[in-house]
């Protein structure tokens, strides 16, 4: 029998050809499915400031959750009467934090994370401090502003 001259004989050529076709077919079926199950990104208008509270709403040593865009923020009035504002999303696993008047600092109930009044992670598992916002008193309103 005469030997094939080319390095690729007819059988393997057909195998690759068919195999490649099957892979392409499976790919063309599953690519749209994979793309379909990933939800489309919905653009959010970036909000850079928000009225978090009325000026006389918060007593010293108290905190309040407010809406900042689609995420919760926390406004704290320190025992001394200063305002502080942070993202209320715990840097550990994204639970929503709260102000504990008995600790006089911020606490997350999910995994016992503690943050001081500068947003620093002082105990528990969180790896980073809370994102800090600027606070301005404009007449009767406490306005929270995202830092640039």
């Amino acid at each position: 029998m005469e030997k094939e001259k080319s390095g690729l004989d007819r059988r393997s050529f057909l195998d690759y050809f068919l195999g490649g076709g099957v892979v392409a077919l499976i790919g063309s079926v599953f690519f749209p499915v994979l793309k379909y199950i990933m939800p489309p990104a919905i653009p959010q208008a970036v909000q850079n400031d928000v009225v978090a509270a009325k000026a006389n709403e918060l007593q010293p040593n108290a905190g309040k959750i407010f809406r900042f865009g689609n995420k919760p923020g926390i406004l704290v009035r320190t025992p001394e009467g200063d305002y502080r504002a942070f993202s209320a999303v715990c840097t550990h696993l994204q639970c929503t934090v709260q102000y504990r008047d008995d600790f006089k600092h911020i606490w997350c109930a999910c995994h016992n994370a503690h943050f001081d009044l500068n947003g620093r992670n002082i105990a528990g598992p969180p790896p980073r401090p809370l994102e800090e916002y600027r606070v301005e008193i404009r007449g009767e309103e406490v306005v929270v502003i995202r830092k640039a």
Binding site: I42, N70, L93, Q94, C95, V97, A109, C110, H111, P127
Partner: protein, 368 residues
Amino acid sequence: MSQEDNITNSHAEKAGFWRERFPLDAVAYFFKKKNVPMHRHSIWYYLGGMTLFFFIIQVGTGILLLLYYRPTAEAAFESVQFIMTKVQFGWLIRSIHSWSANLMVAAAMIHMFSVFLMKAYRKPREITWVSGVLLFFLTLGFGFSGYLLPWNTLAYFATKVGTEIVSVIPFIGHDLLVFLRGGEEVTGATLTRFFGIHVAVLPMLVTALLVLHLLLVQVQGMSVPPSQIEISARNKPMPFFPYFLLRDLLGWLVALGVLIALAALFPWELGEKADPFAPAPPGIKPEWYFLFMFQTLKYIPAKILFMDGEVLGILAFGLVGLFWLLIPFIDRRPEERRSSRWFTAFGWAAIAFIIVMSLIAYVIPQTF
């Protein structure tokens, strides 16, 4: 013709219709021949069937809940409230569904660990073990996806944390998080997605794997633990039909009694409607079968070398899960009739770890 032949013939005539259409003889022969080995650990053979029983309850009550449940952020909580307060026996159906879910996880867990300690995963039962572990993971998936559906505060945060945990997986973590949540945040899109996963995707996967799992058990018969082979050889095996099956049914009857009692005496609470702009409530913790992981993650420091402690902990759990899945391919000793004491020790250590961590999570107050 003997009397015995006559009886057989009359049976044959009655069964004639089916006999022509289905290999009924083969099935009858199979059931006649199926035996259950008798030895000191035979009691553990009932746990798989028990898990199956709770699964059947879940399918039935799940279908009933579907008649009233509405999977949107606006209506989910209210629809469950409606089931619990307005629909006749709605509270009972929902309560049974929740309790049976927990009992099913417990039964599956006991079944899995007993199979592990009796080394029933050894050749040629590797695939039975792998399908069983996958079924267990899917069961946890059912628990996790179903937990969100009433859309209450605890479920909201549990889902937030649970899906956030997925995001630490290298490379694909964030995509997985977006896939699970249906976006960047836990929203109504997440609820609808979890609903689809809970009532369509997981049931389909579980059904396929369950058929494979049960078929393999039937084909291969019951495994006798290496330590019981001699005892089992001395004892007469119990015919499955009807003796073992009747004991199975008795067990199911007791389980049904326990289930109804729990559901009636301790109806499953609904809690408060999820509010994405409320702090996580104090004392929040996951369902009991995730407690040991939750407690372990609490002990891992925030940073280990250059990595987040959490990431390391979660990856470690992932690796242990993979090890567990591949046990039959790693522990080759028992099939060579040699003892694999290290693996037995590992099994007991895992059980002790789960129990101790869960107990600590229960005993130590959360608001320290």
